[in-house]
């Protein structure tokens, strides 16, 4: 039960954003991807979720090759993601934004939704209950009826995470979820990620806060200019001089 990315190369015109990147994400594990700006981390996410077209390489999810699947089917296949720059409808309330995450779990037909048959109503209620749980977990319940545009940036990111969690994915890809979060919220988020992992969800994490990675991830992949620089446990990587020079800078010393 893994996501296997093999030798994926992504090019945009003249720019090679990702070159022969490979990694394996197991369910129940937290894997971190780090690298300098523009090293291809988000592109890797896009390649996995089908939002960027790889020029070469394969993506296998749970033993099924998904290279040819369109993005929405990959999500339905159990790969949820957040975006580095949060994407949301500013007019929508927090609660509704999270409710949107349940789309792939929907079993009722449009006809049933129109008529609001008992089963459709029951499903809606199930979603709503689950939504409340998720909001509670991420301490967002107090803001459920606020519009997204009225939220401070940090909270927006949490809502994005909540939305991906609502998807009940097998794998969750988080692109800098902790950026702009206060320390206690970062703690809460790490807690949530661990819980996800314990429940058997594979977590792929892009993060520039290396302390957080140290705390969470068992394995780290380092990208540089699109290629894999090295990989290993956070500790070994943090000692690597090349990594310190290109990525951590003075914070690593």
């Amino acid at each position: 039960m893994t996501i296997e990315v093999k030798d994926v190369t992504v090019r945009f015109g003249g720019v090679t954003a990702l070159k022969d990147a490979s990694l394996t994400l197991e369910r129940g594990k937290i894997l971190a991807v780090v690298g300098p700006n523009g090293s291809g981390k988000s592109t890797l996410f896009n390649a996995i979720t089908g939002m960027a077209k790889p020029a070469a390489g394969t993506v296998v999810v749970d033993a099924k090759r998904i290279d040819d699947l369109p993005a929405y089917k990959r999500i339905a296949w159990g790969v949820a993601r957040t975006f580095q720059t949060p994407r949301f409808d500013p007019k929508v309330t927090v609660e509704e934004a999270v409710m949107c995450g349940f789309f792939r779990l929907r079993r009722t037909s449009i006809m049933a939704s129109l008529l609001r048959t008992p089963s459709a109503a029951a499903e809606e209620k199930r979603f709503r209950d689950r939504c409340n749980e998720i909001l509670d977990d991420l301490k967002l319940s107090g803001f459920r009826s606020q519009q997204m545009s009225e939220l401070p940036m940090g909270r927006v990111r949490l809502v994005e995470v909540a939305r991906a969690v609502a998807n009940e994915p097998k794998y969750i890809l988080l692109d800098e979820p902790a950026a702009g979060l206060a320390v206690d919220e970062q703690r809460m988020l790490s807690h949530e990620m661990r819980r996800l992992a314990e429940r058997g969800v594979g977590v792929l994490l892009v993060e520039h806060n290396f302390n957080l990675i140290r705390e969470l991830a068992e394995h780290v992949v380092v990208l540089k200019e699109g290629s894999m620089l090295l990989e290993g446990t956070p500790e070994t990587i943090a000692k690597n001089q090349a990594f310190i020079d290109t990525y951590l800078g003075s914070t690593g010393r």
């Binding site: 339905a76 994407r87 007019k91 949107c100 009722t108 939704s113 129109l114 459709a120």
Partner: protein
């Protein structure tokens, strides 16, 4: 907050209450009954516009064209083949869908303004197709002698039927809006990629939704044909579509009751405008004024905040987009 059944029925219920209150006063006035039926017909079209634009973000200049298909469908089967208007009803609901779906698949990825131009083009082509339909559609002359509905033989029963249909559509519309599909459509409207990341196949979802809205317009067309008993190529033209668009926007396109309010306002206002060349000047000026005062439509505007500025507390005042703010 819990989308309880009662809450979901509110918009339709309020329509029925208002109509029930009005009915005794207009019961004996065929003039007002006639206007009421027309308002109901335009309300249906405006609701179709509300679905397409207010929810899915497709500013369609084609609702009248879809209504026209519905109207011609029922006109042709009832006058040419002597079939029951109920057969016409089925066709009026289905044909617009069948046409709207592929068309929406082709164009929903356009940005809003080109998208509305594309619907405008479609609407013009449909008008031409109806004209070229020869004897089948009555060509340039149109079809007269469309039977009235046997189950709604007089104006009052048409009035009741019209508003029942509006209420019915409202119920379905509210249900759909408060479902996963409704939410996905709203997301897709704002950011297709975001919706994709929720697992939505955006083109097909938008197309299905647009087809549903076209079907509502078709229903309006069905009612129109059997109410006026004449259907011509210039009965439901692009100009009507533009009026419908104005109705929806003035009332508040993303609310449930806004389009109905807008339909009533724009339909009745012509009664009080002078019958002269200057009518357009007054109409245009009124339109601009209304837009200037309530850019989000009458029901889309937070009136308390509008008048009291910052006096309101934030949590009370927030319009609930989940139910389209239509509970007002």
């Amino acid at each position: 907050m819990q989308g309880s059944r009662l809450k979901l029925l509110m918009p339709a219920f309020s329509v029925i209450v208002v109509i029930a209150l009005i009915s005794p006063f207009i019961f004996s006035s065929p003039f007002w009954l006639d206007n009421s039926v027309l308002v109901a017909i335009f309300s249906l079209m405006a609701l179709s516009m509300g679905m397409a634009y207010g929810q899915a973000g497709i500013l369609s200049i084609a609702p009248a064209a879809f209504a026209s298909i519905g109207a011609f469908a029922t006109s042709v089967v009832t006058t040419r083949y002597g079939l029951s208007p109920l057969v016409g009803l089925v066709l009026a609901l289905v044909l617009p869908m069948v046409l709207a779906y592929p068309m929406a698949r082709a164009i929903t990825r356009l940005s809003p303004l080109p998208l509305s131009i594309a619907t405008l083009l479609l609407s013009l082509v449909l008008e031409l197709a109806i004209r070229e339909g020869g004897d089948f559609t009555g060509g340039y002359i149109g079809l007269s002698g469309i039977p009235t509905l046997w189950f709604a033989p007089n104006l009052f029963s048409m009035h009741v039927l019209g508003w029942l249909l509006v209420a019915l559509v409202l119920v379905l519309y509210v249900n759909l809006t408060n479902s996963a599909v409704g939410r996905a459509v709203r997301t897709a409207r704002h950011d297709p990629l975001r919706a994709t990341a929720d697992g939505v196949h955006v083109p097909s979802l938008l197309a299905v939704y647009f087809a549903l809205s076209a079907s509502v317009a078709g229903l309006a067309g069905w009612l129109y044909a059997h109410h006026l008993t004449y259907m011509g190529p210039d009965s439901l033209t692009m100009h009507v579509s533009i009026k419908i668009m104005l109705m929806a926007v003035i009332g508040g396109a993303s609310t449930f009751l806004g389009p109905i309010l807008g339909a009533a306002f724009l339909t009745l206002i012509t009664l009080y405008l002078p019958a002269a060349e200057t009518q357009g000047m007054i109409f245009g000026a009124v339109l601009i004024l209304v837009l200037l005062v309530t850019p989000n439509g009458v029901l889309g505007t937070d009136w308390l905040a509008f008048f009291h500025g910052k006096k309101r507390k934030s949590d009370v005042a927030r319009v609930q987009p989940a139910v389209g703010g239509g509970a007002a």
